[in-house]
């Protein structure tokens, strides 16, 4: 099991959000955590479009999901079946008003920080042994050409733009986009299988 991905409890994996919202409103912390985990990838993707550094993305994600936690506990979700739209609205509001948000963040952190720490998917420290997901990626990267490895580093580790990637690889912006997509799909396929050493 990966050290970097916290699975939601199995019993909640296929539960409709409306059911989870109701349970969260009744004080079920497991349902609350499952809901937040479900939205983590989408919220981070929203943040990555606007922010570059991993720390900024993490802070934005925390801001959004602290507000979602607050709304769940206050039973303030008017239409639980439309929770996706609600979370997106929170993302847009947070993006629009980061200054005001910083002040409010401190208060929210005091109230709901403990719950957030239980939800957050902690990355291993640089001196720690990495989990399965990371060594699987390390294994898949070894199969790529150096050019493709550079694309992964520039695009996903360093969040460089197509223009910057094109400059680094001495190619056109359009070709950088093609290389990026091709490499992404190759990695997706590799990561969908077991590691080469395990399948032998």
């Amino acid at each position: 099991m990966s050290a970097t991905v916290l699975p939601a409890p199995n019993e909640l994996m296929g539960s409709p959000v409306s059911h989870l919202v109701a349970r969260a409103g009744e004080g079920d912390r497991t349902a609350e955590a499952a809901l937040c985990r479900r939205f983590l990838p989408a919220v981070r993707s929203f943040a990555r479009r606007r922010l570059r550094t991993p720390d900024a993305v993490a802070e934005f994600t925390q801001d959004v999901l602290l507000l979602v936690l607050e709304a769940l506990r206050r039973r303030a979700i008017e239409d639980p079946a439309r929770l996706g739209g609600f979370v997106l609205g929170v993302c847009r509001n947070v993006a629009l008003d980061r200054v005001r948000q910083r002040e409010r963040r401190q208060l929210l952190w005091q109230q709901y920080g403990a719950a957030w720490e239980n939800i957050e998917e902690r990355m291993p420290g640089t001196d720690e042994i990495p989990g399965y997901d990371i060594i699987h990626l390390e294994d898949c990267l070894n199969r790529l050409s150096q050019r493709a490895r550079d694309v992964v580093r520039l695009a996903y580790a360093e969040a460089k733009s197509h223009r910057e990637i094109a400059d680094h690889l001495a190619t056109t912006e359009a070709n950088a986009r093609v290389l990026r997509h091709r490499t992404l799909l190759t990695l997706r396929s590799c990561m969908s299988d077991r590691m080469s050493w395990e399948s032998a």
Binding site: R147, R149, V152, S161, H181, R188
Partner: protein, 196 residues
Amino acid sequence: MTSQDEDPRDGQAWLARLDDYVAGQVPSAESEEFEEELFTRAASEQPDADTAFYDALARNAAWLASHFFGFRGGSTRAEVDALITSGKKRVHWMDLGAPGPKRLSDWPDGTQIVVTRVGVDLRGTSDVQVHVSFDGQNNVKTFRDCEYDPTDGALYAVCHEPLARLAFRQPRVVAQVTAVRDGRREIIGVYDARNM
């Protein structure tokens, strides 16, 4: 339809769209529509495997980028020496020496990084590849674009211990090093290693 039973091509198209969105390549009007879909998928009963993959890739790639060997097909002797002498990591050094039959032994508990020196001389070659099998016949994996040390021509493979354990703790590991010299690919050396 869930992310589990969708046509794989739909998943590929979605990943490409997500990548364009994150990279800022989608116009504002379209991106709002995309965001609606992103969060509708997030709210579905089954987790969106493609978005989760993309998210994990960004986080894990950033973590690997903090290690000098994370995105390289090999390291230099100087980099390895600096890693060992820094004392920041518990490093296991394994010198396979010249090609031929080898005996592998385990490394100490708590090892974080394994460095393997492959004692071939690749100077004057390009496009170095290492083909690995567990029986000398059926290829398990090919390491591409391997980087050799310019001073001694050897390969210094550096990886995290869990990955090295998977690769080297097999009963038998056969590694064939090939490279292009004068326009032709040739076999530089074959290692046939067995665990003690």
